[in-house]
């Protein structure tokens, strides 16, 4: 599935919810289901620190695609992290660079990505794009 198709799917998933409680309950469920990252990756270097909740982001580059793994200590953030991983992981740098996480806006959770939020989520998206940019440059140089 393309990044956009995944986003579309998520937006549709969410459109079924009647109220905010269902939406957040689902995020919490996603958060609970997200496989924890290997403790050896839960290090300072991978930490994206929001004021109040922390996100750890690890990545590997295989066969032209970036595999992201991530986790957060706050469950709602972890649920959103799960969605971001579903969308962006296992894609090429170019695909990642070309696409914005518009779904967050569309499912009505835009506030979580505002620059003034202290949850580290926006910083995670930025960080994923930086990795994509770096791998994109490396690939170009290796050509």
């Amino acid at each position: 599935m393309t990044i956009d198709e995944t986003q579309q799917e998520i937006v549709e998933d969410f459109s079924g919810f009647e109220d905010w409680m269902d939406k957040y309950a689902y995020l919490i469920e996603l958060g609970n289901e997200l496989a924890p990252i290997d403790p050896k990756y839960k290090v300072e270097a991978n930490l994206i620190r929001g004021c109040q909740s922390r996100v750890w982001l690890h990545q590997e580059f295989t066969e032209g695609r970036i595999i992201f793994e991530a986790e957060s200590d706050a469950l709602i953030v972890k649920g959103l992290v799960a969605l971001l991983l579903k969308i962006y992981s296992n894609h090429t740098p170019k695909e990642i660079l070309a696409s914005e996480p518009r779904f967050i806006d569309e499912i009505g959770l835009r506030q979580h990505l505002s620059p003034t939020r202290s949850n580290g989520l926006l910083a995670m998206v930025k960080q994923m794009k930086l990795y994509a940019l770096a791998y994109d440059r490396i690939s170009a140089n290796n050509k």
Partner: protein
């Protein structure tokens, strides 16, 4: 007398709004309180009617502003029962007030090897300025710890204060634990050894009548925006005997007497410590806030706030897995807590969905977090415009949210 809260709430139209589809419940008063229309109107009057820069001009608008500013100072003096208006310095907030003392007192009285005492429950604003000064001066910062209940280990004070101790800084009320510290006792112990005491009154001034002379504290600092006043304005009360001997903190207009490149002499108190154009609109607004409190029988408001806290504490304790941090018998204003297995950030986010504003995070008190071994807390803090009904709604919201995890 029981205050008429529904009448009081009419003075705070901001409370009467819908947030995320629900009526707002504002329980973040320790971060910043709301301002009554009386304050907003006074401020507007100046912005729209009589605005002139103070102290420096012969014209009528400037004189009107100067008079309002100086009578604002007198209002604060009365509120604190300071001996003279010159001991009331307008600053930009508690943080600036404490930094001012840390710097200027430090310049005058602290040398290498001297000691400064703070407590483990202080807000960063009452730690970092002292750390910075101690680092500059080669002085040593010592810490008075608190107990599991959130009470200072006053007994340790006698051994903590040595012949090298130059100043002691302590909160009137802890912004995380809510503890009301035994100031009289602390000050007596410190004064016995000739150590002056600074009180961080950021959370004290909004919940008490302050009498700096009865307390006999040497410095008292607070912020306007937590006392129903404007942002950007605060107060430093200081005894003249200290202020007179401290060098100024900021240099600029108004704080000087005469400037030449060879030598500059300073103005008298309080102007020595009020460099630059003061936030006179803020000072006037703060005075209006204090007058508002007076017009409302402060004593009954204080009692009412206390009853709210008792009620909220009782209710929250019914919730399984909820732990309150800070259970000192003498407590006011705030309840900090966590619910087992729920991240404070998640709780804050969901409460916000229900229109309930609380503070979550480290509460600018890392040492308190470290004490309890937690990363974050949730804090609900109350003002006299809150109601029993809001506390009930808060309680129900927590029960409901707990079920989501």
């Amino acid at each position: 007398m029981i205050p008429d809260i529904s009448k009081i709430r009419k003075d705070f139209p901001i409370l009467d709004q819908i947030v995320n589809g629900k009526p707002l419940i504002y329980f973040d008063n320790a971060a910043t309180s709301q301002r009554p229309v009386q304050v907003v109107e006074r401020v507007n009057e100046f912005s729209l009617r009589s605005n002139g820069n103070i102290h420096r001009a012969t014209h009528s608008m400037a004189n009107r502003t100067t008079e309002a500013f100086e009578s604002g100072r007198e209002v604060v003096r009365k509120y604190l029962n300071a001996a003279e208006a010159a001991e009331v310095i307008f600053t930009h907030g508690t943080t600036e007030s404490i930094n001012m003392v840390a710097f200027s007192f430090g310049e005058a009285f602290i040398s290498e090897g001297d000691e400064v005492i703070v407590t483990e429950m202080e807000h960063h604003a009452n730690i970092v300025p002292w750390q910075m000064m101690c680092e500059r001066k080669g002085a040593i910062l010592k810490v008075l710890p608190f107990s599991e209940e959130g009470e200072l280990h006053i007994g340790l004070l006698d051994s903590l204060i040595t012949g090298k101790t130059r100043i002691l800084a302590v909160a009137h009320v802890s912004n995380t634990l809510g503890t009301i510290n035994p100031l009289a006792e602390i000050i007596a112990k410190a004064h016995q050894k000739n150590v002056p005491v600074l009180i961080d009154g950021a959370q004290g001034a909004p919940h008490f009548r302050i009498d700096v002379q009865a307390l006999d504290c040497d410095f008292y600092a607070f912020s306007g925006h937590k006392l129903y006043g404007p942002t950007g304005i605060g107060v430093l009360y200081g005894k003249r005997k200290w202020l007179d001997r401290m060098p100024p903190y900021l240099g600029g207009g108004e704080m000087i007497d005469r400037v030449t490149f060879a030598k500059t002499t300073y103005n008298e108190l309080p102007y020595k410590f009020e460099a630059g154009t003061p936030h006179y609109v803020g000072a006037i607004g703060l005075a209006a806030a204090i007058e508002y409190l007076h017009n409302n029988d402060i004593q009954s408001l204080i009692q009412y706030e206390h009853d709210l806290l008792t009620e909220a504490t009782y209710k929250l304790k019914q919730i399984e897995g909820l732990r309150i941090y800070g259970e000192a018998p003498l407590k006011t204003g705030v309840i900090s807590f966590n619910i087992a297995g729920i991240h404070p950030f998640d709780l804050g986010t969901l409460l916000d969905q229900m229109g309930i504003a609380v503070r979550t995070g480290r509460l600018c008190a890392d040492p308190v977090m470290d004490h309890f071994g937690v990363e974050n807390m949730v804090r609900a803090s109350f003002a006299f415009y809150n109601t029993s009904g809001e506390i009930e709604a808060f309680y129900r919201a927590l029960i409901r949210l707990k079920g989501m995890f």
